[in-house]
Symmetry: C2
Subunit: 196 residues, 2 copies
DNA sequence: CTTGACAAACTAATGATATTAGTCTATAAT
DNA sequence: ATTATAGACTAATATCATTAGTTTGTCAAG
């Protein structure tokens, strides 16, 4: 199955994920990755398409893992409970895998908007969120708006947190829960009868 | 004041800002910057502390400009009107200056947590937001929570938008206004009598 | 068991980049 | 005019990504 030193794409990407999470995505280099894996830099090209390829593969890994976690978090729950659980799971993922998460947000779509696998992974993520929001009986446009809003809230909080943006160390968890609840209140109001 | 080819720190940073906004912060190199300014790369070291220095200076520039815009947007307004105007101004800044904004969020604080000027600029920004939120009569902890929440909402939406995260091109402006209003509703509810 | 094909490692080479050290010179102050 | 210096320069080094071409395990067929 594997020859020589037994290196394949998955092994390479997993090592890249660890480095990116530990040192930051910007600090991820093929040189560091190769050293970590005990090979010379050019050998990596047998498994990944250079540094951009690693970035793309990390994005795909991250989107899939995120989908899996959100799906798991929402199982057996509905309504506010499901949304809160998803929000927590999303934030946890960003905290545990800041480098991989950064790759999912970064430009790979802008570089190649026609990447099928990436598109599919994003659609999958969106589908999970919309499925949970379905409980609120929103119309289609409202649901899209709500999904964007929820993602903005959670993404915004988690990335500011990861960047060290909340200087005061007090009650960060409570701030997050509060914000998510505020969002849910607005959602309930909307489903009752939209206002502007 | 300026000798030779008339290059000073401000000129260098302004050129860096243009490049970062046009091509992305990640694509900003000293080589490109030097070419743009008509000098050799090492000459830049007379004005900035290498690439990390440029990044830091961009962050400072961005924080100050953001403060100025938010302050201007809120002048003569109060309550919801002021918050909505600030949110719009924040989002506009991210759209117009994605590279500079990215620098303000990025890790420079993590690299040097004791940078006085950066700290001061961040405090200034926070002060403006808290001043606008003062109209809601929140307690101190509530106000901090609200400021974090507002920033998360606006930052999250704006950065996802900048990253091309909203695939469907429909009514992005409306989505943003809706989300901001949802936040404000939650805020009003809180000031009436906190819930969890 | 031998052998041939191939995947996966390697070396070598190139070009871009950041950074430091040291030089040269136009300009500003004396 | 003279001189000190800021601000430009050249030269040199180190790191990195990437490509081209070579070598060598390993697997499978004979």
């Amino acid at each position: 199955m594997s020859r020589r030193a037994g290196l394949d794409q998955q092994t390479v990407i997993e090592a890249a994920a660890e480095l990116a999470d530990r040192d930051g995505l910007a600090a991820l280099t093929l040189a560091a990755l190769a050293e970590r894996l005990g090979v010379r830099t050019p050998s990596l090209y047998n498994h990944v398409a250079g540094l951009p390829g690693v970035s793309r593969d990390l994005a795909l890994l991250g989107l899939r893992e995120l989908s899996a976690r959100l799906g798991r978090a929402a199982i057996g729950k509905s309504g506010d409970e499901a949304v809160l659980a998803m929000a927590d799971a999303y934030r946890s993922f960003v905290r545990e895998h800041p480098g991989v998460y950064a790759a999912t947000v970064r430009s790979p779509r802008l570089i190649d908007p026609h990447d099928r696998e990436l598109q599919a992974a994003e659609a999958q993520l969106m589908a999970i969120v919309l499925a949970v929001l379905a409980a609120y009986g929103l119309e289609e446009d409202e649901a899209v708006r709500a999904a964007r809003g929820l993602r903005s809230v959670v993404h915004g909080f988690a990335t500011l947190e990861a960047a060290g943006g909340f200087a005061m160390p007090v009650e960060i968890d409570a701030s997050f829960t509060w914000l998510t609840r505020v969002f849910l209140q607005g959602l309930r109001r909307e489903s009752g009868g939209g206002s502007g």
